[in-house]
Amino acid sequence: MATQTTAVVDRTVHAPRGRVFDVVKEWLTTVDHKKIGLMYIGYALIFLLIAGVEALMMRIQLAVPNNHFVSPQTFNQLFTMHGTTMVFFAGMPILFGFGNYLVPLMIGARDMAFPRLNAFSFWISAFGGFLLYYSYFGGSGMYGAGSAPDVGWFAYAPLTARVFSPGHSTDYWTLSILVSGVGSIGTALNIVATILCMRCPGMKMNRLPLLAWLYLVTSGLVFVTISPLTAAQIMLMLDRYLGAHFFDTQAGGSAVLWMHFFWIFGHPEVYILVLPAFGFASEIIPVFSRKAIFGYPAMVAATVGIGFISLTVWAHHMFTVGLGAPGNAFFTFSTMVISVPTGIKVFNWLATLWGGKIHFEVPMLFSLGFLFQFVVAGLTGIMLSVSPFDWQLGSSYFVVAHFHYVLVGAIVFMIFAAFYYWYPKMTGRMLDKKLGQWHFWLFLIGFHVTFDLMHIPGLLGMPRRIYTYEADRGWAGLNMAVSIGGAIQGIATLIFVYNLVHSYFKGKEAGADPWDAWTLEWSTASPPPAYNFAETPTVESRRPLWDLKHPNDPDSKYEG
């Protein structure tokens, strides 16, 4: 790929480096969406590593039956912290980070709609993560080391009541989620306002890059799902501090109500996490197939459809609670219906590949991994949605395997793809391709060893959240293999981290448009100047850079 000359005066790269203090101050006080995006991403990466290490510790404990590597209390804290951290402090911020960075660039805007709110949202979310881990010190007073919350990431009542969870660790859990939820709502609001109000001239809604559409729907979901969680956390605080009885079963309160409130949040939450990953896929797959996305209007409609249907399925996490036959039947149906719009997406990606010229660059490798794995994860989801089947599979390692297949096999894979794809834009340097391939293949192998095999103990009756198990159950060999797979993933992750650091200093210069791509972010310098675009761009189709590169056959001719 040829070197570039850009018309944009590139000030960021060559600006003399200030003293450390100035740099720190600049980042701490910035309201620039790119810097905030990068801080989100960096912060999330740190938590991804921490939660990954927690996962590995669980895997060491479970590798052999009746192991004594950690105590039951510690194990219970580990899965609580792992789940909470991964979902709230790795998954959410990394996606918001990419959203912050990319959305304004892709729609030709100068910044987010409310830059200061943006900075506020980041810092308050960051404070939430700090609070969660502070529980290790503050959970039962400063002396009580190792007193992190141990109520599980969905913290079912009444285990969270003062009687069953004394001390402050559960309060730190509640507070951290409450606080970071405020940040999430702030960022989502910002993304919606940016997309609806800051598009460059010509960027009609039906020309919006799919990534922006997916962030729009994700953000919409944030309003209607994080808020119920916030409400439920407020109720829990009232119970714990003011002696209210929302979830106090002794006073007539209901444990099931908490489950409903949590999963009204919890189910759409998993789509909040996966939709941005769909967004990355919808940008990356076309570029490396050298074809326009197949069926853009259907993709948008499917996204909106998933958004709405996802609000009606929450009780599929509660099939074993005793909802009664009609309830189980209803939620079985609504859950299964989600496979229709999701299937449309999968098939449209497939059709995008069809007839293309597929380049197996590293971002594309990860995207293809995503595509294969997401299908399996979705199909195990369908098995779980069959409520009688779920009476067997629910709360077993089959569920753990199902959701890691989506959360790791789909989302983490797409996050890695996004790193390889947009890192050149963010830093001006390419990530090393050799290391990237090592990272991909090792992670792929580790992933499959871990999570393919993990389904089986579930079928053999192994419940989740147990710190140890009996030797006579036939689970031992499988668990050992699963743990080994986890270690392989760990090694692959270390290669990735090394690549991030190494390529920042030694990577190949990227130029403005290393992938020969079509959306607006590739029209400005890498990294983009503070003001993003020297001149506000104007667009006439979904792929403005395609139009520019193929003046004889512009996209705008084909858009209905």
Partner: protein, 198 residues
């Protein structure tokens, strides 16, 4: 592959997009409404399920006067907005003052009600499920009234000191959207707490 510079600027007719403030406030209102819905669902779910007294029927009285005050403050804030739009500064201040006053009366009413409930009827948040759901729902609403009143009072001060001009009328518009929302929520809370579940 090809070199890319900036995208050329070509004329694209009229380019209009919605106002950031309104969109932002609409998002906030959706989020807040979701919070209220959860509290209302909890109220309905636990209605009549308390294991001990007092019951709503024994202790609640219809806060009709204060509710009328709150609802009418929606009208006054609307007039404040249109006065500002037409550049009538004194009228703006007057309408804003009236809004703050009406909202304040509502808050005082809630305060009195709570005082009565706590000190005479012995109902606190930890008494029973009714107390739990009642104080949290009405309290959540009252806290929104307080936030609204603070914002409105600030606008009133800006208006009195002449710092608010018709250039700010969109901002006041956004604030009044919030205030309408707080009033609308009260109608629902009123119906649920004082009418259907009493």
């Amino acid at each position: 592959m090809s070199n890319v510079a900036t995208i050329p600027h070509s004329a694209v007719g009229e380019w209009k997009q919605p106002s950031k403030g309104v969109v932002g406030m609409a998002c906030l209102i959706i989020a807040e409404a979701s919070i209220f819905i959860i509290f209302i669902v909890a109220y309905l779910y636990y209605a009549g399920k308390s294991l001990s007294g007092p019951t709503p029927h024994e202790v609640l009285e219809l806060p009709i006067f204060t509710s009328i005050c709150l609802i009418s403050s929606s009208i006054t804030v609307h007039f404040a907005g249109s006065a500002l739009h037409h550049g009538k500064r004194n009228a703006t201040s007057l309408w804003l003052a009236l809004t703050v006053l009406l909202g304040g009366i509502f808050l005082v009413g809630t305060g009195q009600e709570w005082y009565q409930l706590i000190y005479h009827d012995g109902l606190t948040i930890s008494t029973n499920l009714f107390g739990t759901t009642f104080y949290s729902l009405v309290g959540l609403h009252a806290s929104h009234v307080i936030v609204g009143l603070i914002m409105l009072s600030l606008s009133l001060i800006f208006s009195l000191t002449g710092q608010m001009t018709s250039a700010h009328s969109e901002k006041l518009e956004v604030l009044s959207l919030y205030w309408h929302f707080v009033d609308a929520v009260w109608i629902v809370v009123f119906l649920v707490v004082y009418v259907f579940c009493r």
